[in-house]
Symmetry: C2
């Protein structure tokens, strides 16, 4: 069993280990980026990558929210993995297992080699080995892409991994309690309709399917 | 194969069908709530439930962000399901399949019967049939819980479900392209250590495991 699926006695706790933060950031595939635009708060889901002490985002240069980040708008980036359902002996004590991090600060736009290296990182982070299987980004593609970086400095991490915390009177009753782990799995790849006969699934995809559940680290 | 996993020709599209929104809201288990607090934007992951035309959240009366919502702070609630990896013939065209909704507006606190009914809904939404297996919430538990509701009126839904959109020159090359579906699955339940011998896994949990992947609707 994955260690993260083994409940502990502590229902929810703040974790200050940077390693645990990095494990979550390197495992989860989607971040929710919160910023304030003229209409109020906006929360945008996006892929991301950790590059050492930086959190990288990328997208089209036409993206309004990404341009706002590049211009220095303060942001809160939340990364969450749901890891289980906590079935307690009452509705009140029932909850979920999760790992969730909030990172705060302002992003800076990347340029030149730093930006192209970041784009390769985005490819490798989702599908290790893929960058070597495909052509490099073209200057036109690079020009159409905005990459922004947030220094990982101000952050918090909460992990909920405990058993149901039922009061003694409920434990003495007849209701069951426990945890149902949740896992994200990759299914068999579906080739695009325009893949020509004889072009087989690449090594990167084979390795990913052989070796990794989504969100299985930590 | 689940219909949502069948790629279409459209890479990403805005969907205006309320049914599609409801399907996502009834399938996903976590929402990311964005609001502006004194320090700036804050994005909080939380469970939620749809009740007809309302989106419900709940938590401790001591929760600062929930109290801010109850007091009328404007919010953006984003609900996202990652459904696949899009492996294109270049890093630039590689992306992800997802469904994501943003709901905007101000919440109102619920009281009395409306609040107790909402708490039952939270239980039933995650684990149908569970409310009838456990005791009702006590007045003390109700008093410790804040439930807030957002009218579902101002929202947007984006669905990315297309094949890789590679340019002709890349399609003519030797690189593979396709989609790797991602699915959330429930694993076998783990009883809490204080479950007494003879107390078996309840029907609600059995049915959930037999019938449902997480996020399999639509």
């Amino acid at each position: 069993m994955d260690r993260s699926l083994t409940p502990t006695r502590l229902a929810e706790k703040a974790v200050t280990d940077r390693d645990r933060l990095d494990a979550l950031l390197d495992s989860a595939l989607v971040a929710h980026v919160g910023l304030v635009v003229e209409d109020g708060p906006l929360v945008v889901p996006t892929g991301f990558a950790r590059d050492g002490d930086r959190l990288l985002l990328h997208g089209s240069t036409g993206s309004r929210w990404l341009r706002a980040l590049a211009a220095g708008t303060y942001a809160c980036v939340t990364v969450t993995e749901l890891t289980g359902l906590v079935v307690a002996r009452s509705g009140f004590e029932s909850s979920m297992h999760y790992r969730s991090a909030c990172l705060f600060g302002t992003f800076e736009p990347l340029a030149g080699d730093d930006a192209s290296r970041a784009l390769e990182l985005f490819t490798e982070r989702v599908l290790p080995g893929r960058a070597a299987e495909v052509r490099p980004s073209t200057p036109k593609e690079l020009a159409a892409t905005l990459v922004v970086a947030l220094g990982i400095g101000q952050w918090s991490l909460k992990v909920s991994a405990g058993w149901p915390d039922d009061p003694a009177a409920d434990v003495a009753g007849d209701a069951w309690a426990g945890v149902i782990p949740i896992r994200s799995v990759l299914e068999q790849p579906i080739p695009a309709p325009d893949v020509r006969a004889g072009i087989d699934i690449p090594d990167s995809v084979r390795r990913l399917l052989a070796g990794r559940d989504v969100g299985s680290s930590d």
